[in-house]
């Protein structure tokens, strides 16, 4: 109790009530007051005394000041006060949703990308297939055009009988059943074999048939041909303006300079 008495007599409680202490000193006094409740009555006595002192020294302000000051104090909770709304936290939930949306968008984009990629691959495959069939078709058209051209040429022979001389070559004793048709146009120096008319024994790969013309008793080479594989159109042979007869011999592949008379397969005179 000695300490409390000394504490009271130090005058620190008076300074505390007068607000004349540093923050630390103030907190220290408050801590002491918590510990020693009997000091609180001392503080209350000091407060009452100073309040009485202030009342005794009071100065009445001007009457007009009252309403002015009261107006500047924000009163009337019912009419004036804006109700305090609980502040929602937009931030955390906003970012949460924004993040989720971003992830969803990313996944969607990835899915679309993969999808597009596979579609592109499919398209490439389709284009390749189309190109292939297009090539096939083109070569088919070329082939058909070539055939058509050959057919036209052979038809030409029959359409112009005055220009073409058609010579039927008959088989020799070497090939009694053989026959072949040769068309000869002396005006254009054209010699053609009608492939459809070839009725010759099939030649082996090391031999070919060779067409000859007899011009004034001498054999003239008109080129080689094969029997058996190609049966449409006409085969244009070497040029010739004059002939009395045609003959076919079997010669080694590529043909010979002079005909091998023993291998004479067919012949016919104009």
């Amino acid at each position: 109790m000695e300490n409390i008495k000394a504490y009271i007599e130090s005058g620190v409680l008076e300074l505390y009530v007068l607000g004349d202490l540093s923050t630390d000193e103030k907190l220290e006094v408050e801590r002491v007051l918590e510990t020693y409740p009997e000091l609180k009555t001392e503080v209350e006595e000091i407060e009452k005394a100073l309040q009485g002192f202030a009342e005794a020294e009071a100065v009445e302000p001007k009457e007009a000041l009252r309403s002015k000051i009261l107006d500047s104090m924000n009163t009337g909770a019912a009419e004036n006060d804006i109700p305090v709304l609980p502040i929602t936290k937009p931030n955390s939930s906003f970012y949460k949703y924004a993040f989720a949306a971003s992830v969803a968008l990313l996944l969607l984009s990835l899915f679309a990308l993969i999808n597009l990629r596979s579609q592109l691959k499919d398209s490439h495959n389709q284009i390749a297939v189309l190109q292939q069939s297009n090539q096939k078709f083109t070569s088919r058209v070329n082939y058909v055009e070539k055939q058509l051209d050959e057919t036209r040429q052979s038809l030409n022979i029959f359409h112009n009988p005055e220009q073409y001389k058609v010579v039927n070559l008959k088989g020799t004793p070497n090939a009694p059943t053989a026959s072949i048709m040769v068309a000869f146009n002396p005006a254009k120096s054209e010699v053609m074999i009608d492939l459809a008319s070839i009725k010759m024994p099939a030649n082996d790969p090391s031999h070919q048939y060779q067409l000859w013309a007899l011009v004034d008793g001498k054999p003239v080479d008109l080129g080689v041909f094969n029997a058996g594989n190609d049966t449409t159109g006409v085969l244009k042979m070497k040029s010739l303006a004059k002939a009395q007869a045609f003959a076919v011999t079997l010669e080694p592949k590529g043909g010979s300079i002079n005909p091998t008379m023993e291998q004479m397969m067919a012949m016919g005179a104009i």
Partner: protein
């Protein structure tokens, strides 16, 4: 012009009314304490108009920062008078105030205010006031410096040229005398 009735509330009800920002709370607060607070403010400020502004500032601050008042730590008036004193002292020590006012010395200032305002003093405490005047002059001088001039006890010691311990003793003595009068 004096209104016949002034609103008065017990302190706990007053505190509650202020917390709820009720009009009755602000009126009672003003009626009960404006004169006491103005007495402190006008003595520190020395200028009637400025003191009125400061009184308004004080009530607005009390009203708006009422959350910082803790009734467990002391009486409402103790908190309010410290708000008033701090605002007034800040004003007095601000540059523009020092440049604009003719400084008077302490002894004459308190007396001059009281001489000017002898008619407006609270009649109920007139007798008490005379008794206050009769307090030991050297003790009251210290209390006046702190209470009505906004000095700290350290500044008061310097002003009066006396040791810090003596200032504290005189403050305590002055308040003990007041306690005899009011409690």
């Amino acid at each position: 012009m004096n209104r016949k009735t002034k609103i008065s509330l017990p302190e706990d009800q007053l505190v509650q009314a202020i917390r709820q920002k009720q009009r009755i709370g602000s009126e009672a607060l003003y009626d009960m304490y404006s004169a006491s607070l103005f007495g402190v403010i006008v003595r520190i400020i020395q200028d009637e108009e400025l003191a009125q502004d400061l009184l308004q500032e004080t009530f607005v601050k009390i009203w708006n920062s009422f959350d910082s008042y803790d009734e467990k730590k002391g009486r409402l008036f103790t908190w309010m008078v410290n708000v008033a004193r701090n605002l007034s002292v800040d004003k007095v020590r601000s540059k523009d105030f020092r440049n604009n006012s003719k400084n008077q010395d302490i002894e004459t200032s308190v007396v001059s205010i009281d001489e000017q305002r002898n008619t407006t003093l609270n009649p109920e405490v007139l007798g008490v006031k005379e008794m206050v005047e009769n307090l030991k002059p050297e003790a009251k001088a210290v209390l006046d410096l702190i209470y009505f001039k906004g000095y700290t006890h350290v500044e008061a010691a310097e002003e009066l040229g006396i040791p810090l311990g003596t200032v504290k003793t005189r403050v305590r003595l002055a308040i003990i005398n007041l306690r005899k009068l009011f409690n």
